[in-house]
């Protein structure tokens, strides 16, 4: 059911008193949470940009082109802890910030979530092969399913891209929502509660 809310009603939603942590994250803290989340996403892209710069502009060998953090903490890149940690942060962030999105932005956000969820399943599959000590397809190393189709370094870049695209569409629809969706929003992301408070 979609009903337009009065400024007073919207204002009462923004009051954090009596709200759970999750409700605050998706209500009055949603705007700031999304900024932090997007900061993490862009920091990760910055690592890839740095790595691409090291390879294609500085002509470093691929093994030495470890981005910025990888220069000081090579084990982060060698062990894939950085990649996996980021995949996990993405999954958690997409899940706990989902209910702040409404209408079409929520749909796009959940598309990003489910793609990221599958990405995580692939990591679990790799982890499972290490734990069991038996690799799929007779391979000497653990294999993910997507590696069968895209057996390249760029698989990680592709995963991040196909998660990023629906995520940024969701952000756009959330920050510049249609009027019907704006009325349902409980956060300050599109600006209306500030109007209500003014």
């Amino acid at each position: 059911m979609t009903t337009a809310q009065s400024p007073v009603a919207i204002s009462s939603h923004v009051d954090p008193a009596g709200q759970s942590f999750a409700e605050r994250l998706n209500g009055p803290w949603h705007e700031r949470s999304l900024q932090v989340f997007m900061g993490i996403v862009l920091a990760h892209w910055a690592e890839h940009l740095a790595q691409a710069y090291q390879v294609y502009v500085l002509h470093w060998p691929l093994a030495n082109a470890r981005g910025v953090l990888g220069l000081w903490f090579p084990w982060l890149v060698r062990s894939e802890a950085l990649h996996y940690g980021y995949a996990l942060v993405m999954l958690v962030g997409l899940w706990i910030l989902r209910s702040g999105f409404v209408g079409s932005s929520h749909t796009w956000w959940m598309v990003a979530f489910w793609i990221q969820f599958w990405h995580h399943i692939e990591h679990a599959l790799l982890q499972g092969q290490v734990i069991v000590g038996q690799n799929l397809f007779g391979s000497p190393v653990p294999m993910s399913l997507a590696q069968l189709v895209i057996p390249r370094l760029e698989l990680h870049l592709i995963y991040n891209t196909i998660v990023f695209i629906p995520m940024v569409i969701a952000m756009y629809r959330h920050l510049v929502p249609p009027e019907a969706e704006r009325a349902q929003m409980r956060c300050t992301c599109a600006g209306q509660p500030r109007l209500a408070a003014a």
Partner: protein, 180 residues
């Protein structure tokens, strides 16, 4: 709820690190996956398969061994891999492969380097108390990172897109403020 999700995430990360610490190269999910270039070839008392990811630069080489003809598997005393360009512009370089834990048979791994995208001759030399031998094959080294410089463009796009969304949202906010 968010705390529970956070707890699950920390646990998953800990499990991942435990595996990654024990098998760093195995956990390299985003490294190119190796492909089999030699399948079930007989060498002395072994049946061998060779897997590699033949990119220019340093690449892994795996030699998978099983006992031939239902014999009992005895681990070889040494497994070496030699690579040399077919063109003959360099002399052969031999690499000692180290044993890795597997449930059945043997798996040996070493890193070899291909300095140029071209055809290379490959030799695997196996020695053991029950016999040995060598196998030969050819492998074509390919340029790494098939996206090439496009990766630079792709990695830059998110910043432009986010900047565009932020700008559009700022315009929309100003519009709403003006209306009020």
């Amino acid at each position: 709820m968010p705390l529970a999700v956070f707890g699950l995430a920390v646990a998953a990360f800990a499990v991942h690190l435990s595996g990654a610490g024990a098998h760093p190269h195995e956990m390299a999910a985003h490294r190119g996956a190796p492909t089999r270039i030699v399948a079930d070839r007989r060498i002395g008392p072994y049946v061998a398969s060779v897997w590699t990811d033949p990119e220019v630069g340093s690449g892994p080489m795996y030699i998978m061994l099983e006992a031939a003809d239902g014999q009992t598997f005895t681990s070889p005393s040494s497994v070496r891999v030699g690579v040399v360009p077919v063109s003959g512009r360099l002399s052969e370089v031999l690499h000692d492969a180290h044993s890795e834990p597997v449930r059945r048979g043997g798996r040996f791994m070493t890193e070899v380097s291909f300095d140029r995208a071209e055809l290379w001759n490959l030799r695997v030399l196996i020695a053991s108390t029950s016999g040995g031998g060598q196998l030969t094959a050819q492998v074509e080294a390919k340029p790494n990172a098939s996206f090439g410089p496009f990766a630079l463009v792709l990695s830059s796009l998110p910043f432009l897109i986010v900047a565009g969304v932020w700008w559009r949202a700022a315009v929309a906010r100003r519009h709403i403020s003006a209306l009020s």
